[in-house]
């Protein structure tokens, strides 16, 4: 029955109409994709475009809601990673699936099917390391290794099973440039040996270095399949971020006055292994305007937010000035007292305590105001504040004073943003204000942010949603690998220009060195 040799010209893997629905969100929408034997195929797209969801479906980690996967023309069901590996698919995850306390050899052995002893694993590891130049010490524990070494383990783990398709999810995100170049050499070699590679990335230069075909995803859909070497960076960036300009703004013209926030030469080391350093950031927000910070996730947005909110302190007080007052070394609550307010990205667990009621959650940022007196909580005042937030921001709650976790994402987001706005802050800093929120709530939140600015506050919005920034921002900058582009009026930005800044190719295209 089974054809041993696939007919020539037959793709190795074919995805047909793959869809994945999470509640109201369509993460993948009818995706078609084919990968030839020995091809390095790129999957390009912004964060949230559905790349990771798609490869997880292909690797059997999550189930598709609809669609078909064909392997060498035969329809297959991939119910688990074990089945995927049996079919010859290997995957290197973005966040490594390694076990810190185990040794390199143990980490490899645990993922192999069939009968392996640790000594055969050691032997094979030696062979593969030699062939592909992936040096690894079998008996070291993972926690002692660098990110590059960890990734090598994942790759060796896949190669030991002689895969026909190797999937790499954002493989260079934690690598140094030298480590990345080393990886590309290995991948070229694998491809020459006939192994297909699906390479997921949002980094254009890498894709042009490695691939002859690229499928571009936006909003869960395939928007184009192109040859990245034949297309210009501008064209690809436009495809990735989309051409449709956001809704027309109907705001009254504004007259920004003095600077409410000034950040001067902010530099900060990364907080952890996956962290991003901030490099020499300068930023100003004036009373009456909305300042937007665009960028692909993981380029320093959360670090910037932590520095502005006081979750991480700067070395000098002068680095950050709020309302003219040097605040770089002040904690969160001290910054609140000088008129600032903050809404972090994570709703549950960061902005709000999941198992506390809404009225108790008002205390998180209102602790030093009307809801407490001499260390005692004024429960009735807190309830009153919670009620007025619920009413003014159209928060739909299950009952009178429910736990925060009982609210849907959109309603909780309206609540945490309302909680800050109702304090009438002079400066509001919001990270991803409408992330994972339905369209209605997003509209209400954006309107509230613009209204706050027009009443004379400065608002800083950090967002991955470009449409959103074009809708609300008066001036905008793009963050890329911890550096901030110059802040320009929104009218001077095109989506294309933003896309290029996001990919870090703006300087390269205009400068001496084009990749």
């Amino acid at each position: 029955m089974k054809a041993d040799v696939p007919p020539s010209g037959q793709p190795l893997v074919e995805l047909k109409g793959i869809s994945k629905r999470y509640g109201d969100l369509l993460a993948n929408d009818g995706i078609n994709l084919s990968i030839e034997p020995g091809e390095i195929h790129a999957l390009l797209g912004e964060n949230g475009a559905g790349k990771s969801t798609l490869v997880k479906i292909l690797y059997g980690v999550i189930e598709p809601s609809a669609g078909e996967i064909r392997l060498e023309g035969r329809p297959v069901t991939i119910g688990s990673p074990v089945e995927a590996r049996a079919l010859g698919l290997g995957m290197v995850f973005q966040h490594f699936s390694l076990f810190d306390e185990l040794t390199v050899a143990e980490n490899i052995a645990v993922a192999l099917s069939g009968d392996w002893s640790l000594s055969t694993v050691r032997e094979k590891l030696g062979e593969i390391s030699g062939t592909y130049g992936l040096a690894l010490d079998a008996d070291r524990a993972i926690w002692t290794l660098s990110a590059g070494e960890r990734q090598r383990i994942e790759i060796v783990r896949c190669l030991l099973q002689n895969p026909r398709l190797l999937i790499l999810d954002e493989p260079t995100s934690v690598l140094t440039p030298q480590e990345a170049e080393h990886l590309f050499t290995t991948l070229d070699r694998l491809s020459a040996e006939g192994c297909s590679i699906l390479y997921i990335s949002h980094k254009l230069e890498e894709v042009r270095r490695l691939c002859r075909r690229a499928t571009i995803l936006r909003g869960g859909r395939v928007v184009a399949t192109i040859d990245p070497r034949a297309s210009s960076a501008r064209e690809i960036a436009a495809l990735m971020v989309g051409n449709a300009v956001g809704d027309i703004r109907t705001d009254a013209p504004h007259h920004p006055q003095g600077e409410t926030l000034r950040v001067s030469n902010l530099t900060m080391p990364p907080a952890g292994l996956h962290g991003q350093a901030l490099r020499d950031i300068n930023l100003a927000a004036r009373a009456g305007e909305v300042v937007g910070i665009a960028g692909v996730a993981g380029n320093g947005q959360s670090e910037l937010f932590a520095a502005l909110s006081g979750e991480r302190l700067a070395d000098h007080a002068e680095t950050i000035a709020i309302n003219g007052k040097p605040s770089g070394t002040m904690g969160i609550d001290a910054r609140r007292r000088v008129g600032a307010a903050f809404v972090p990205e994570e709703r549950l667990g960061h902005s709000a305590a999941p198992t506390h009621s809404l009225s108790e959650n008002t205390l998180i940022s209102h602790a030093s105001t009307e809801v407490s007196r001499s260390g005692f909580i004024l429960m009735n005042a807190a309830k009153r504040v919670a009620r007025s937030i619920v009413q003014s921001f159209d928060v739909r709650t299950p009952e009178g004073d429910p736990q925060a976790r009982k609210l849907s994402g959109g309603n909780l987001q309206k609540f945490v943003i309302g909680r800050e706005i109702i304090r009438r802050p002079k400066l509001l800093i919001v990270d991803q204000p409408t992330w994972g929120v339905d369209a209605g709530a997003a509209r209400l939140i954006r309107q509230a942010l613009v209204d706050l600015a027009r009443e004379g506050s400065a608002v800083v919005v950090i967002s991955q949603d470009l449409d959103e920034l074009f809708e609300v921002a008066d001036r905008m900058a793009v963050i890329h690998q911890g550096t901030l582009s110059p802040l320009r009026p929104i009218g001077e930005w095109t989506k294309e220009a933003v896309g290029l800044e996001m990919l870090g190719v703006a300087q390269a295209e205009g400068g001496v060195h084009a990749i």
Partner: protein, 305 residues
């Protein structure tokens, strides 16, 4: 038999139930599940084993009943923490309370009954060696079994494929799931193993150590077993050392109290705990880097699908 030999023998008897229960809990925790219900499973094992042994006049059936009772309690725990992803701390505490109550009910008709001692297994020749002969080679089967179990658990965890899978799942269940390792199945059997061991430890208490049943007779030994696992840094060999230090200190402080050294009895009662903590602490300091708990210990596993 000299007094000295008698003391040494009681040390072994006092340590064995701790060792067995702690080994079971160690395997459960290495798979990433914290079962605080050891005390409850142990006391159920004691009640059911005693009831079965008296009813059928068979030590073997008693032991089987004890292990089964422990495993059934563990299965209930597994249903809560795996099936419903319930909070492990709460479920474990509930299991202990349930076990203490239910065992009282099951054991009530058997209060006052007695069992004959279980005959020790004499290894001819070796048991004639002075002092250590009787200590090492004329014990009941449980003692030999508990030592063998320590070795087997150690080999299983560190030398077998299945043991590696179990450790990986305990270390990081998200990664394990992404690699396609059967998180739920492995944890289910690990929890059941822990329950059966706790039941066996209870059976030992009722059938060998005291040879009668009284409600709440485990008297906190389940908690000691739990603590031993932590102090022993999740290593079977260290659990053995810890269990024997604790057993020895318990017996010796009783003799010290009887000898009336003029030290307050409360201080002496605290000695076993202090001795165990200090000994295992020294052991882990000597070993260099402190070994942490399994990475996913106590965290409910809910995969995204």
């Amino acid at each position: 038999m000299t007094t000295f030999e008698a003391i040494l023998l009681t040390i072994v008897t006092a340590s064995t139930p701790l060792l067995i229960a702690a080994l079971g809990e160690l395997v459960t925790e290495r798979s990433g599940v914290l079962n605080l219900g050891v005390e409850g499973m142990m006391v159920m094992g004691a009640a059911c084993s005693f009831a079965a042994a008296v009813t059928f006049d068979s030590t073997l059936l008693g032991v089987a009943a004890g292990m089964l009772a422990g495993a059934l309690m563990a299965a209930l725990f597994a249903l809560l923490v795996l099936g419903f992803a319930a909070n492990q701390t709460g479920s474990g505490l509930a299991l202990t309370i349930l076990g203490l109550g239910l065992s009282g009910l099951i054991g009530a008709p058997f209060v006052g009954a007695r069992r004959d001692p279980v005959a020790p297994v004499d290894i001819p020749g070796l048991s004639d060696i002075p002092i250590i002969g009787r200590l090492f080679f004329e014990q009941d089967l449980f003692v030999y079994a508990s030592i063998l179990l320590t070795v087997l658990v150690g080999l299983y965890l560190m030398r077998t494929r299945s043991g590696l899978t179990l450790r990986s799942i305990g270390e990081n269940h998200t990664s394990a799931n992404a690699l396609g390792l059967p998180v739920w199945r492995v944890r289910f059997w690990a929890i059941l193993f822990g329950g059966a061991c706790a039941g066996l430890a209870g059976a030992y208490l009722a059938l060998v150590y005291t040879r009668f049943w009284s409600p709440g007779m485990t008297a906190g030994r389940g908690w000691i077993a739990l603590a031993l696992v932590v102090f022993a840094a999740w290593r079977p060999g260290w659990v053995l050392v810890g269990a024997y230090i604790f057993g020895a200190a318990t017996v010796l402080q009783l003799h010290a109290q009887a000898a009336q050294f003029g030290v307050p009895s409360q201080v002496l009662s605290a000695v076993p705990y202090l001795a165990t903590i200090i000994a295992l602490l020294l052991l882990s300091i000597r070993h260099g880097r402190a070994i942490g708990a399994p990475g996913s210990l106590g965290v409910p596993f809910v995969p995204d699908r």
